[in-house]
Amino acid sequence: MSKAAEIEIASVSKIYGNTTAVHAISLKIPAGSYCCLLGPSGCGKTSTLRMIAGHESVSGGDILLGNKNVTDLAPAERGTAMMFQSYALFPHLDLVENVAFSMKMKGVDKETRRAKALDMLKLMQLEPYASRRPAQLSGGQQQRVALARALITDPEALLLDEPLSALDPFLKIRMRAELKKLQTSLGITFVHVTHSQEEAMALADIIVVMNDGRIEQAAAPRTVFERPATAFVARFMGDHNVISGRATSSTPSGLSLTVPAGGTFSAPACGMPEGDPVDIAIRTDRVQIGKAAQDGLGFTGSVSNIEYRGSSVKLTATGAGIEEFTAIISDREFFEQPIKVGEAIQLSWHAGDVIVLGKAQ
């Protein structure tokens, strides 16, 4: 079953009438990897997935699977299988017939296809329900049937359109683990569309962050989180404070940026010309309470909100021209010196924690 294929998207775009849903994106998904297309709704991630699957025509560019150009092939000829958002199980067929559907279409005789479908159901631990209709199953079971139906075609790549969105939070986490396990054991390429950064981080080998029909960043989850490429990525991944301002001095040793009507912050050098707008990000969990060791690595603000989260406390502060700056403080540190809303507070960070963000292409 393991004949994974590399997926290559070469300047693919999708245009609906006057609106461009996908702007000539290029992407290489290595064979056998778990790739998550991540972004807010309307960012073009589902269109991209549907173009890979062949359910949406490509307005420009090419899609390659393995070394085969599949741009103009029918969905079933591509070697991909798709799992639909609401699973799209056939309500009038029982589980065996649902799973055996593709073989029935190919004209495989009844005995063979039923036996094969039963084997697949056994693999998914759904054998006891083989003669039930999809409506008689729970959400998690339906998802496994949809997986079985997609995998029985022995695909080189499995495309999943928000597969976990219909499940309750508890089941979501369990099915997430099952998906990852399945991908590891099958070794085929998975492309998974989601709007949950948590889901993407938990599952993916590569996260492709999309916004407004463009790819903002495509990298391993750790890279995306630790070195977000753009302000959008930093904000969308969460747990980052983004400070926007203008570069006031740019030297080989460092950059300083000034927030309009606010403070000045220092950042590592990045060759940005003076006067240009620049964004920096600081992870919320790397912010400390206390005076900055050096000018430009902290500010004094007033606390606007405090949220207790058990092991940590989330402080939100305003000051130095920054609307909202979040710090995650460990509960011990916070309760040693409790702070109230409205109090002035000094926040600071290390020079190494400042990330200079680029602009979207």
Binding site: A76, M82, F84, A88, F90, F101, K104, A150
Partner: protein
């Protein structure tokens, strides 16, 4: 100084104490419909059933309990032939309306992209139904008649030397008019079921390698069955009870059960007509029961 009163604060209004037991309330709620169905459906049916056992002569009916009316009805060769003829119309009209109805509904549901256009076209389908049944039926006569539109066209173009006789006052004319009258009753429920089919099911079938024909036979038609069953019930019951179309369009050359009853009534043979009605009712109800056995329509209701 103005006083501010908050709604709900202060002394509550005295409550009127009308207490109805939940049981009585339920009966009261069901009463209006029971009354209507009882007076306008159950009672007339009961009367027909009672009258069907009565005796009659050329001028009067005599309360009695005779099975004579049934014996005469079922024992007559004419009755059996009329029933067969009516069933023949029912089957023909059903098959044709199902075929046309399905494709019209399919076109509306799957080939028209925008919801607004779907609704506009669906309303266009219903426009002929703003006129009366009889007028729609009669308007076929100038089209199909001996010197009608079609015949004069055919004769003038030299395709036939004499007008085609079977166009009007024939079984063909009856079936044509009935198809015209009843197709919408097939389109509506099928359109309704087709609109509820999740479009991603079609994509899932395509993903599994189904051709357009396979999508139709394996996904769409099975899922449209409840709508087809409801349409079938409409069409079959309407055709089985039809007398005006048969009378007008066959020119009195063809018979249907309802037409037979009408003739019996005009001869003041009410008990015989009542017996006939009871037999027809049993037949139609068993046909509906048969349809419901084959297709589960509960999901549609």
């Amino acid at each position: 100084m103005a006083t501010v009163r908050f709604i709900g604060v202060g002394e509550p209004k005295p409550k009127r104490n009308i207490r109805i037991s939940p049981k009585l309330a339920a009966y009261l709620q069901a009463a209006p419909l029971t009354l209507i169905l009882g007076v306008f459906l159950a009672l007339p049916l009961l009367m027909i059933l009672v009258v069907s056992f009565w005796d009659y002569d050329f001028a009067q009916m005599y309360p009695d309990f005779l099975t004579m009316n049934y014996v005469e009805t079922l024992g007559s060769w004419v009755t059996w032939k009329t029933y067969l003829n009516t069933l023949k119309f029912a089957v023909l009209v059903w098959a044709i309306t199902l075929f046309i109805g399905f494709w019209v509904a399919y076109f509306l549901a799957f080939h028209i992209r925008t919801m607004a256009m779907q609704m506009v076209l669906f309303l266009v389908c219903t426009v002929p139904f703003l006129t009366s049944n009889i007028i729609r039926m009669i308007s076929w006569i100038p089209v199909l008649g001996r010197n009608g539109l079609i015949n004069s066209g055919l004769v003038n173009s030299g395709l036939v030397s004499e007008p085609v006789e079977w166009l009007l006052y024939s079984d063909f004319a009856v079936v044509l008019a009935m198809v015209h009258l009843y197709t919408l009753f097939m389109v509506t429920p099928i359109f309704n079921t087709l609109m509820r089919i999740d479009k991603s099911l079609v994509e899932a079938a395509r993903d599994a390698g189904a051709t357009s024909w396979q999508v139709l036979t394996n996904v769409i038609i099975p899922l449209a069955k409840p709508g087809m069953a409801i349409g079938t019930i409409f069409v079959v019951t309407l055709v089985m009870a039809d007398f005006s179309t048969v009378q007008v369009m066959s020119g009195g050359q063809s018979a249907s059960v309802a037409l037979m009853m009408k003739n019996q009534m005009s001869l003041l043979q009410y008990p015989a007509a009542a017996a006939n009605a009871v037999v027809l009712l049993i037949l139609v109800l068993s046909m509906v029961a048969g349809i419901l056995r084959i297709v589960d329509i509960r999901k549609e209701l």
